[in-house]
């Protein structure tokens, strides 16, 4: 069947509604990469088996990620007439028990996290609604609108939740120029991190001379500590495909590419299948919806190079060679893939486009703050109580994000800093948490918005070690084309290594700062220009930690291995032997039920023994 008209689309929508809201129980299991890592696969199998055993008619559906990864595996159960409840930390045994309850027509409250809003149905009074939980209350989902709520491979369900009506509006009711203007008026800025106005990029490309033109979706999400793009590609691939199709129409391109990071096999698989499905229905291909507009999409799988997230390097990679960047200008919008005008947008930017075209620019522009319209997605991770994927209006403060949505530090510990923007960003201290989350405020404070990684750090995180970690990353990922980045990142890494090993001098701090400024000024592409940010921001806000390493040769957080020692207190040790068993280098000896000792000549200071000790008998010395 081909979808040729709006009424064809309407029949697709009806099929999707019937599948989303069947007259029998529907059970959604979060099966994105994070859900699988938490054991959702076994839960899904248990549900299927038990349903067969009981002869229970139920739709058991693998869905994407709802964002509350802390609570995975998540199972969302709708029982017609009885409401809809979300269960967290579900085990296979609980899944089987849940099905036995459903067979009796009961939606149990045991193990329930929250209830979901369902129109006109009697619901339990004692459970909170999902959107009332602190984790969700401040969120505003646009990019993540469908994630975890539909079968990612079902185009029918995507259409039932509003998909492809925006493409129909663009192709049948608007001219390409009107599409570009709509995106421009929405105030949408590039969600890859740089924040360039999307509509303006499209306009430059549309007006640039040269045919053919190309549009590319940048799904080479390389920032360690970030997984927003993976989640969208895995959980709602059609939103990206529709967004890219609209971009192609607006810009005047007939060929699109989706470049996906090699480390994301499930995202590659789903986006490939979804593209094939859209082609099968004629929503990609020639004469889409009878509009005369032709558009094709090819999927390109990366091969593990961080620099390919940079747009000119990504283009070089699609062209087939090593993914090395080149100087700008000319910008890709004028001269990009094969030297032709090319728009490159981030996954989240493109997933937003259908909403802007569907609901109108004004509605989107009304969200957020002046100059920072709309919403932004963060992966809130690290030493924070609630980890997960969150989408908030721009302008929310860091404190509302970390303490409100994130619920504060892990295990009640005090939050010390937050890192945004990955290896290109900086660390901001708790004293700066009053700042609103906007492109400009984060840049002024020494970090960047970035593509959405937000890593929370506490008293047990060493900021010098974190700076060294990031420089180790950028040094390894520097493509080597320009000297400031290739040698400068190595120079900074070497100084930082001396410092964490207790060999640093006060002059090292001045040298570090000088090299950092030099690399920032002189590097060819964004990788090198931003690589010093982790160093500069930690020097700015956490200089005392650097000084403790350099002058007193101690690591206040108790992390830097050369500066700490692990000691077993004989009076507290019960001789349980756990530390001895877990020590990776066999440095611990002792008889059962007798105090154990650590051989300091063998110990590698990894702290595993400290973590496993059930009676806190092992102390990290050299911190204070």
């Amino acid at each position: 069947m081909k979808i040729r008209t709006r009424s064809d689309l309407e029949s697709l929508r009806k099929a999707g509604l019937a599948s989303l809201y069947p007259p029998r129980p529907r059970i959604n299991v979060g099966m994105a990469t994070c859900g699988r890592a938490a054991g959702a696969g076994a839960v899904f199998d248990a549900l299927r088996e038990e349903a067969d055993r009981l002869g229970l008619e139920a739709a058991i559906v693998p869905v994407g990620c709802l964002g509350y990864c802390q609570q995975e595996p998540l199972v969302d159960v709708a029982l017609p007439g009885r409401g809809r409840v979300l269960y967290s930390h579900v085990t296979p045994d609980q899944a089987r028990a849940l099905l036995r309850s459903l067979a009796d027509g009961v939606l149990p409250e045991e193990g329930a996290l929250a209830r979901m809003r369902v129109e006109g149905e009697a619901e339990s009074e004692s459970l909170p609604y999902l959107d009332e939980l602190p984790f969700y209350a401040r969120q505003h989902k646009i990019v993540l609108r469908n994630c975890g709520l539909l079968d990612p491979m079902s185009i029918e369900e995507y259409v039932a939740r509003g998909g492809y009506a925006p493409l129909a509006r663009a192709l049948l009711d608007l001219t390409p120029d009107e599409v570009v203007d709509e995106v421009l008026r929405s105030g949408l800025r590039g969600r890859g991190g740089a924040g360039f106005p999307t509509g303006r990029k499209w306009r430059i490309c549309r007006d640039a001379p040269g045919e053919p033109k190309y549009v590319i979706c940048n799904g080479d999400e390389g920032d360690p500590g970030a997984y927003m793009d993976r989640t969208v590609l895995e959980s709602d691939p059609f939103s990206v495909i529709e967004g890219l199709t609209i971009a192609g129409y607006g810009v005047g391109a007939h060929q699109g590419y989706i470049y996906v990071r090699d480390e994301y096999p499930l995202a590659v698989e789903r986006v490939t299948q979804a593209t094939a499905r859209a082609e099968e229905l004629g929503l990609l291909g020639d004469d889409i919806l009878g509009s005369g507009f032709d558009f094709h999409i090819a999927i390109v799988r990366g091969a593990g190079a961080f620099v390919c997230g940079e747009e000119t390097a990504l283009i070089a990679s699609i062209e087939g060679g090593a993914g090395e960047p080149r100087p700008k200008p000319p910008f890709p919008a004028v001269s990009g893939l094969w030297g032709q005008p090319t728009v490159i947008n981030n996954v989240k930017t493109l997933a937003t486009v259908p909403v802007i075209i569907g609901k109108g620019a004004e509605k989107y522009a009304a969200i957020g703050t002046e100059g920072n319209a709309g919403t932004v997605v963060f992966s809130l991770v690290g030493k924070v109580a609630n980890t997960g994927l969150v989408e908030v209006p721009l302008g929310l403060t860091l404190r509302e994000m970390i303490e409100g949505i994130g619920g504060g530090g892990l295990d009640g510990r005090r939050v010390k800093a937050v890192q945004t923007g990955g290896p290109s960003g900086g660390c901001l201290p708790a004293e700066q948490f009053h700042l609103p989350i906007t492109y400009e405020s984060l840049t002024a404070a020494g970090s960047i918005m970035g593509s959405g990684g937000m890593v929370v750090m506490d008293e047990e995180t060493c900021m010098v070690d974190v700076a060294r970690y990031f420089l180790g990353f950028t040094m390894a990922e520097s493509c080597g084309k320009c000297t400031p980045c290739r040698d400068g990142t190595r120079h900074m890494y070497e100084i930082l290594t001396r410092i964490v090993e207790g060999q640093g001098t006060p002059e090292d701090l001045d040298d570090l700062e000088e090299v950092a400024h030099w690399v920032k000024e002189a590097s060819l592409c964004g990788l090198g220009q931003t690589a010093p940010n982790p160093v500069l921001s930690t020097l700015r806000y956490f200089r005392a930690e650097y000084e403790a390493h350099v002058q007193e040769k101690r690591c206040p957080a108790g992390v830097c291995r050369a500066l700490i020692r692990l000691v077993i207190h004989a009076d507290r040790c019960t001789g349980c032997g756990l530390c001895k068993r877990e020590c990776p280098v066999g440095a611990i000896s002792g008889e059962p039920k007798q105090p154990h000792v650590i051989d300091q000549t063998v110990c590698i200071h990894c702290r595993i023994c400290h973590d496993v000790c059930p009676v806190d008998a092992i102390e990290i010395t050299g911190r204070r």
Binding site: T33, A37, P224, G382, D611
Partner: protein
């Protein structure tokens, strides 16, 4: 070219010299160009690899939540450093910067299976599942 390299890698588990020469002939590009691209990307190896690949995530979230300890444990359990393959070709140990499961940190991926919220104590039991 990237797609071709992925295909060779999927077939052999690494990039044998003979297969690269053949690809250069068929694509009508110099072997040096193929080698340049292949050596640029982390996903490709010129050496034969183990039957199973153990990837220890060293992304930011995993790193600050103890990913370094998981790596210590794996190094001692397998007796190889990152990049190395055990003499029996059972495992290749690798570090990767982020598999995108940061909320489950620290994470290890063995072939296609992702293990989250790991503690060093669990590492050896996981390895036993792969032979």
């Amino acid at each position: 070219m990237l797609a071709r390299l992925h295909a060779i890698n999927a077939e052999h588990g690494y990039l044998p010299a003979e297969a690269l020469r053949q690809a250069a002939d068929e694509l009508h590009v110099p072997l040096s160009q193929i080698y340049g691209a292949a050596s640029f990307y982390a996903a490709f190896s010129f050496e034969p690899r183990g039957r199973h690949t153990v990837q220890v995530c060293q992304g930011t979230a995993c790193y600050i939540r103890g990913g370094d300890k998981i790596l210590d444990k794996l190094e001692s359990a397998l007796g190889v450093r990152p990049g190395g393959t055990t003499p029996d070709r059972r495992f290749t140990l690798e570090t990767v910067y982020c598999v995108g499961s940061c909320s489950m940190a620290p994470v290890v991926r063995v072939d296609g299976d992702t293990y989250g919220r790991l503690k060093p104590e669990r590492v050896e039991r996981i390895l036993k599942r792969y032979d």
